[in-house]
Assembly symmetry: C4
Homo-oligomer: 267 residues x 4
Amino acid sequence: MTRMVNKYRLYQIVFESDTKAGKRFDILLLWCILLSILIAVLDSVPYLNLIYKNEFYTIEWVFTVIFSIEYFMRIYISPKPIRYIFSYWGIIDLLAILPTYVSLFFYGYHYLLVVRILRLLRVFRILKLVRFNREAIFLLRALRASSYKIGIFFSAVLTIVILLGTIMYVVENGENGFTSIPQSIYWAIITVTTVGYGDIVPHTILGKFISSLAMIIGYAIIAVPTGIITVEMSKSSEKNKICPQCNTNNIETSNYCTNCGSMLKKN
Amino acid sequence: MTRMVNKYRLYQIVFESDTKAGKRFDILLLWCILLSILIAVLDSVPYLNLIYKNEFYTIEWVFTVIFSIEYFMRIYISPKPIRYIFSYWGIIDLLAILPTYVSLFFYGYHYLLVVRILRLLRVFRILKLVRFNREAIFLLRALRASSYKIGIFFSAVLTIVILLGTIMYVVENGENGFTSIPQSIYWAIITVTTVGYGDIVPHTILGKFISSLAMIIGYAIIAVPTGIITVEMSKSSEKNKICPQCNTNNIETSNYCTNCGSMLKKN
Amino acid sequence: MTRMVNKYRLYQIVFESDTKAGKRFDILLLWCILLSILIAVLDSVPYLNLIYKNEFYTIEWVFTVIFSIEYFMRIYISPKPIRYIFSYWGIIDLLAILPTYVSLFFYGYHYLLVVRILRLLRVFRILKLVRFNREAIFLLRALRASSYKIGIFFSAVLTIVILLGTIMYVVENGENGFTSIPQSIYWAIITVTTVGYGDIVPHTILGKFISSLAMIIGYAIIAVPTGIITVEMSKSSEKNKICPQCNTNNIETSNYCTNCGSMLKKN
Amino acid sequence: MTRMVNKYRLYQIVFESDTKAGKRFDILLLWCILLSILIAVLDSVPYLNLIYKNEFYTIEWVFTVIFSIEYFMRIYISPKPIRYIFSYWGIIDLLAILPTYVSLFFYGYHYLLVVRILRLLRVFRILKLVRFNREAIFLLRALRASSYKIGIFFSAVLTIVILLGTIMYVVENGENGFTSIPQSIYWAIITVTTVGYGDIVPHTILGKFISSLAMIIGYAIIAVPTGIITVEMSKSSEKNKICPQCNTNNIETSNYCTNCGSMLKKN
């Protein structure tokens, strides 16, 4: 009996964040994740790696052990362990600890690099902690509602960069960095998104003229996704209550109809 | 009789996308177009062209034959073949197959390049498949409704870049890449659109000061087209009630028609 | 009598654009201005100047004579010639023809450059032709209405770039292009406006960190002027009619109140 | 008695800006601050420093004495001097005069640089003068209201740049400038914010492909903060009616209070 109660209590702490202990656990975990990411990032700096190699190694193992304990605790507590293991977050949790163990067996330089990427997947675990956040849901809902329109916008952008890339490849005659169509499309993306690295630039007069058009297109069409998302957010932020007496739209927080003064139901 | 029915059935499949078979045909065609574009793009990479020259050549011919069959089928099925041939989409369809046949007769390098551009016109055929798309129409209508205001905005931008280019040509004294007014206008466009390649940069103190102004202008006035399009989309996205008496569009919250005063049904 | 009628008729053609002849005159003038600008721009290209020097010179004089005739015609027709001469547009009109006459007396290279700038002032004459345009007035009104807020925004941006410039000057120790505070402020403007020429880039680790912050600041605060102008345009585009019966706000185009159906006055 | 009246009069001039004298004092102070900043900026230019070293030194001392007098006057006038000294603005006021005095004792080059930064803190004093500005408060309120959503947005951007940086570090194999993960994150920030210095650019094909994705992501997600701030400003700019019964804010078009149902006065 007591054990089950304890297990339920642990479940509340580890999986939920409504209780005080649950919130503390989440914040502790957040700091562990952030610190372990920081260590993984600093570890990649050749200068620091040379000096603090052993320290980084030790700290990495400390975090890995902490995350491993957390992972097995989650499996133990969970009412449906198998379901947790193969869930989206379960796989992220596993991938966040696996690389360090894997690195024990593989010593090749390139493998270590891949391990490093996997280690930085812990970044995703931060997202898990804000999973139930209301404001984040608001943003995601607005993005999802406008995803179809944004898809069309991106198809149009893709069409533009493919055409621009092909034209510039012909115009610059395969020279000045425009060595192939994919390379020219890469240039078109750099230009249309207004990034402008400057590693590939047109050298012919016609090329410069087409570039100018590409820049102005890129500069102007950014207004389209901005308009789409602004309108969608504006809609999401106005949820209405309909008055049962006079059918007037009232804003979400209203208790009485703004038109006839009759009472509104609570949402 | 049967033949005519078959022809009508084929018409539904090829020209319309309401039936199941019509949808499947559209998706199959979309994949063919996308793959043929991909092949045309990869073919331009010198490294790949060297190794897979023959494979690319064969695949290109396969797609050209497929598109040719489709083109002649459309002419055969269409109730008004001449009208289809000289329609906008008919010309695009023809241009998408012609280049490969043309390349049989011309072997010069530069001609082949032009052929490649024509081949990539197939990108436009994708647009045809989304022709009747509702969301795309919404976007286009918002753009068209604000096209006049955006035209004014572009006239203002053009005036600014011409003046900036001329001033910088004089200030930098025709040196440091500012070798002529068109070249300086090219620099002004790079700067005002915030692309910033860095291939032409001011070297004099006054030139740097004017550049700073140009950057801040470009940074700020992007807000103008964004505002225009957002307002236009916001208007378009408001759902309307059609008046049963006079067909006027009324906004969603209206109880009476704004044009003739007759009562509107509740939504 | 006839002469006065003719003068009035000429006044309508030259100064107004409501009549058919007035519109034709405006369009003819617009093309002359655009062509004369194009010639002035092309004339600055060393290659073209070498070949077509005489042609450019002749065309330039043709346009100057046309504009001179137009200028003196305006003085002759205008009921208050002195007022026209010293008006804003009168001075622009004079400046657009003066440089070519001035160039007869001065042959120095640098003087010619200044003359070229003055010649390109003709760009402003285009603005005159759209002077009474309704949509342009709408845009200008929205910009003017939000000018105070945008002024505050620019003060904030200026404060940020001065501080960033000073900090980077100290951090980079006056090296790597950060040779003085004004130079560092120039870098800060390039970075915050997301232009990113790349002619001055940080080389120290701390400098790169501060740059990253500057970029993210610049990337995010562009939202502020966009928001200001969008809201202002949104307001301008909704002019309302108040219902005399029930005080409901109706949109500008309504003839009947959307709430009670009573008739609205014409604006 | 008279002395107290004088002190109160001085308080009005120095601390408040409602009276005519107070406004004049503020504008005089603003010019002093702007000029002293300009001198500090110009002083850092090696060329000007060489020629006008003494002039700059003298002017700097004149301003420091003026600001010192102002500082001590504020302490003398203030009813609660201790509170003023340790207030936010009091510390800024002190930091704005301290550096010049400090520079009397330290002659090292680097110390002087830090002194220069402190001197430019006077920029903040300008903000003090617009402290009570209504429009600025409007902007700040909109920013504060959307700060939580913008925080989430920045977390997402941070996650994206960390992941992109790590992936590019592995893909470019630690070469071509991608020498460590922090360096690669610096590149990712340059790319996602569309700044695009071009000091670090991908050289591998896979790297260029990932860059293209990064650019398009950066180009598109700028729409998110813009949408957030536009919606927030749009809300703030709607004028409210205050309910006489319960002090609730009602939107402009309401006839009855949304909270208690009591009737609202017509505007």
